[in-house]
Amino acid sequence: MSRIECRYETEILDAVASGRWPDRLDAELRDHVSSCGICSEVAMVSALYRDEYASAMDQVRVPTAGLVWWKAELRARREAVRVASRPITLVTGIAGAGTIAVLAALLLGYSKQIDLAAVSAFFLALPMVLWLALAVILAVTPIALYFVYSDE
């Protein structure tokens, strides 16, 4: 397997970081770099990136720590409110759906003169329908709760 590192790498990196590369490099290291593929690559890449870093640092314009903290605090508080209001949303939704269902049943009852005794008799005769409805509610509730409590 070919070599992937050289024991002089650290010295090359130090030389580049301290500005000794390439002009003030000592003779021994200079000779080594000219004959070592890994070190010549390390020297070239690290010199390039040192320049890049210096240029990037010239461009830096960061907000103050206080501003970043304040924004984070505000966002954390907003998220806490959102999480805390999820059960309220759920209860409101269930209450709304229940109200609509009751109103619809009443309206239907008045408009079509549904015989409630007949409805009761139907469920007594076919209790499976009632169990089926209950099973659907039991299956759907956890899914609804998952969507309410899961993160976006």
Binding site: R30, V45, L48, Y49, E52, D58, Q59, V60, V68, A80
Partner: protein, 196 residues
């Protein structure tokens, strides 16, 4: 309807509850301020250089610190904390690139979208343009590793912590990334053969 008087205890409840927020932010403001002063500039430089967009770097910087503050991670020391922050920043950059893939060729220098233009002149400018074009053909992980190793001066262990790799993998990653970059830039500039 008559409004009743508000009590002192009710007023207390209305006061912003900063102590609760401190619990969710996993750090107190003073410690954060000190940590931010030490890390914000290099993190911004990394974000700016990887995205080529100052405004995006600003947004990602805020997001990186927010995620850092919300993460329930026990940091062993300052280095670990810093590496963790860079890890978040690297993930944000990569997520952003996945959503908005970078163009195969970078815009020419002086055109909109080029990350460096105003202050780069002469040879340095040419080298930077060459580097930009070369980096387009490298993977995000290679770019991250090169930046951390040669711009930040991070050790192999620190890079491994930041990128979630083993030290051996980092050495191989750096070796291959260096070789590819040098090849893409037309071979090593052996400055030692003459005095450049």
């Amino acid at each position: 309807m008559i409004m009743r008087d508000i009590t002192l205890s009710e007023l207390e409840l209305l006061r912003p509850r900063t102590e609760d927020t401190d619990d969710t932010l996993q750090m107190d403001q003073e410690s954060f301020g000190a940590f931010y002063e030490r890390t914000a500039r290099p993190v911004w430089a990394y974000l700016w250089r990887r995205t080529g967009d100052g405004h995006l770097a600003d947004d990602l910087l805020q997001e990186a610190y927010y995620r850092f503050l919300r993460a329930r991670v026990a940091h062993e020391n300052e280095t670990h904390r810093r590496n963790y922050l860079f890890r978040i920043a690297a993930n944000l950059v990569n997520d952003n690139h996945r959503r908005q893939p970078v163009p195969l060729e970078l815009p020419e220098e002086g055109k909109p979208g080029h990350p460096v233009s105003d202050f780069s002149i002469g040879l340095q400018s040419q080298r930077r343009a060459d580097l930009d074009r070369a980096l387009v053909h490298m993977s995000s992980r290679q770019k991250d590793a090169l930046w951390l190793a040669y711009a930040e001066g991070s050790s192999h262990q620190e890079i491994a912590d930041t990128l979630g790799l083993k030290v051996g993998s980092v050495k191989l990653l750096l070796f291959r990334a260096r070789r590819k970059l040098v090849k893409l830039m037309g071979g090593p500039m052996v400055a030692v053969k003459g005095k450049s």
